[in-house]
């Protein structure tokens, strides 16, 4: 079975969830997706494991930065963590195999060394006579 045929899009959104999300952002849906980031409200409840991960991350943010944050900001942190977690859950559900390499890679420096230069042809021995 190929990867493509095995893959079912892990949207993770029920119709109800989709509807709720759509309603929440109805006023500005049209903004497209130009780096206007979600606040995490709406959407279905997280799976327990995902919720536990959000709770742990939230505790870590508060441990590191809590003294900088107002109560309103702490709420925003939790909501944003929740939204990120939904995206992570869908990515983690994508089937991968050992040979699936990341879209990252080392490029040698300087770039022009990437193309090997032809070896110089050895000079012919001087003819005698």
């Amino acid at each position: 079975m190929t990867r493509d045929s095995a893959f079912s899009p892990p949207r993770g959104l029920s119709r109800r969830g989709l509807g709720r999300r759509a309603a929440l952002s109805a006023a500005v849906l049209a903004l497209g997706s130009q780096r206007l980031l979600p606040q995490g409200r709406g959407g279905p409840p997280l799976e327990p494991a995902d919720q536990a991960e959000v709770d742990a991350k939230y505790a870590d943010v508060i441990r590191k930065y809590g003294d900088r944050l107002s109560e309103e900001q702490k709420t925003r942190v939790r909501n944003t963590l929740t939204n990120h977690q939904r995206m992570l859950a869908r990515i983690r559900a994508f089937p991968l195999e050992n040979s699936d390499a990341p879209a990252t890679g080392l490029r040698l420096v300087p770039n022009d060394t990437a193309v090997p230069k032809p070896r110089p042809t050895p000079a012919a021995p001087p003819k005698k006579g």
Binding site: S33, R35, L88, L96
Partner: protein
């Protein structure tokens, strides 16, 4: 001051007049500067005008052209650059209060290339703070205040290249540099009724430009026509060893053939599953536009975006790379000075994602790249709306500390929905070129945009499709009602 009819000419026609000395670079530059001073504040279009530099460049261009040394299609042509591109000696604020006094002592590679071509920088375009790199929730999130759309000043321009969109639309410059990590050229292009292009990833050097996400940031032209974009890109593009992700020599350069060169009939895929919601009048405008191309010989058939978590992968890549790119700002607490309440905390949140998550996304990304690439075996370009709405009204929102009124800031509303299947998620993740051109107007006289996308590095395909469309229609010649 030159007339509006001159100032709204596309680059090719301005260049012809400059080369024939029917107008002078100094006269042209002074006219755009004057218009920018008069109208720029109305739209919050500029961060800075670079008047002294511009006039020096204009005088040099005038001498050279008079002496018969014509450098090419941008010689003597004014332009603006988004305020995330370093210009020596001038503020480069990244649109954000923490960087309001920032200056660099060097020029970005793209500025150097344009200098060499004789182009004239007249100003730095306003933008959304950090180009939305740490997130934002509305158009107020800019050091210079919200950009106002020339078609209706109660509406936003979209972002993050908000000033670039307003400048070109209002005729304050013939073209402007924008940047696009995920939609930041295509959306303002569409809402402002202009022609704008996001080139293939790696085509234009980002050296000297602010980073949001190394693997997704692109610089590109926003202009009157697709042909203008082609001319500007031919100068902007090229290999740069200072940019780690620059395409290699021979591939990075963009050789742009003139209009009228023989072109094979286009195979256009009409996307049937992009955007889960779209206004029916807008959809009709898109369909009408594609019919125009079909009648002119293009082969148009339905196409579908492949399945896969493209939008999530794009967003997570940006979040994680941005958390690293802005780590000094986040760790120092400087993000508290950002205007947008989401930007103030998003760095803390994104830091919580793991290196394993990042690698997982990048492994998925490679597979998704192959899926979308396969679609272009059957099509030269795929087409859809540039945005699924017209320009939205500006709403009251957070302001910089020195502009705040008493009382609590209005709450930020959610404005992003990955279930939208917005094509910019796919194309940005996979580094595809895209170009949006005007294709009609709403009943409220706000522009619609028709967007073309092509296989990675096939930048010419999107220009050719849009250029063909503009040779058959007049939407790009409409001007906003500026009093």
């Amino acid at each position: 001051m030159l007339s509006d009819d001159i100032l709204y000419l596309p680059i090719r026609e301005l260049g012809d007049r400059l080369r024939k000395r029917a107008i002078s670079p100094v006269e042209l530059t002074q006219s755009f500067l004057e218009r920018s001073k008069q109208l720029g504040p109305k739209f919050n279009a500029y961060a800075t005008l670079t008047e002294e530099r511009a006039l020096d460049q204009a005088r040099a261009a005038e001498k050279e052209i008079a002496a018969g040394h014509y450098r090419g299609p941008l010689h003597g042509i004014p332009y603006a650059a988004k305020d995330l591109v370093a210009v020596k000696g001038y503020p480069t604020t990244w649109g954000a209060p923490p960087f309001a006094d920032q200056k660099f002592d060097y020029d970005a590679t793209v500025i150097q290339r344009l200098d060499h071509a004789g182009a004239i920088l007249i100003g730095k375009a306003a933008m959304i703070e950090l180009a939305g790199g740490l997130g934002y929730t509305n158009g107020n999130a800019s050091l210079t205040g919200p950009a106002h759309n020339p078609w209706n000043t109660e509406c936003w321009t979209c972002g993050s290249s908000s000033g670039s969109g307003a400048i070109v639309s209002a005729g304050l410059a013939p073209w402007a540099i924008g940047s696009d990590t995920r939609g930041s050229i295509i959306c303002p292009t569409t809402w402002c009724g202009i022609s704008g292009m996001r080139p293939s990833f790696g085509r234009v050097s980002r050296y000297g430009a602010m980073t949001i996400a190394w693997s997704m940031d692109k610089l590109g032209p926003m202009a009157r026509t697709a042909d203008c974009c082609g001319l500007a890109l031919s100068v902007m593009a090229g290999h740069d060893p200072k940019d780690h992700d620059s395409l290699p020599p021979g591939l990075a350069e963009f050789s742009y053939p003139p209009p009228g060169a023989s072109e094979a009939p286009l195979r256009i895929g009409r996307l049937t599953n992009a955007w889960s919601r779209m206004d029916t009048a807008m959809q009709s405008a898109i369909d009408d536009g594609l019919q125009v191309l079909e009648k002119a010989g293009a082969k148009v058939s339905d196409a579908a975006l492949p399945d896969g978590p493209f939008e999530d992968a794009a967003e997570l890549t940006i979040l994680m790379e941005a958390a690293s790119a802005y780590q000094n700002l986040v760790h120092s607490g400087g993000c508290a000075k950002l205007i947008d309440p989401l930007g103030q905390v998003n760095g803390y949140v994104s830091e919580e994602m793991s290196s394993n998550d990042y690698l997982q996304v990048q492994r998925v990304r490679q597979i998704l790249q192959h899926r979308i690439d396969k679609l272009f075996d059957d099509f030269d370009v795929i087409a859809t709306a540039g945005s699924n709405s017209t320009a939205q009204r500006l709403t009251p929102g957070p302001r910089p500390a020195n502009q705040q009124q008493k009382g609590p800031a209005p709450p930020a509303e959610p404005r992003f929905d990955n279930s939208q299947r917005a094509p910019d998620g796919i194309s940005s993740l996979c580094g595809l070129p895209a170009l949006s051109v005007p294709c009609g107007f709403s009943s409220g006289n706000l522009p619609y945009g028709l967007q073309f996308l092509a296989r990675a590095t096939n930048d010419l395909a999107v220009i050719a499709a849009a250029r063909k469309f503009q040779s058959l229609t007049d939407w790009h010649k409409k001007r906003p009602p500026i009093a």
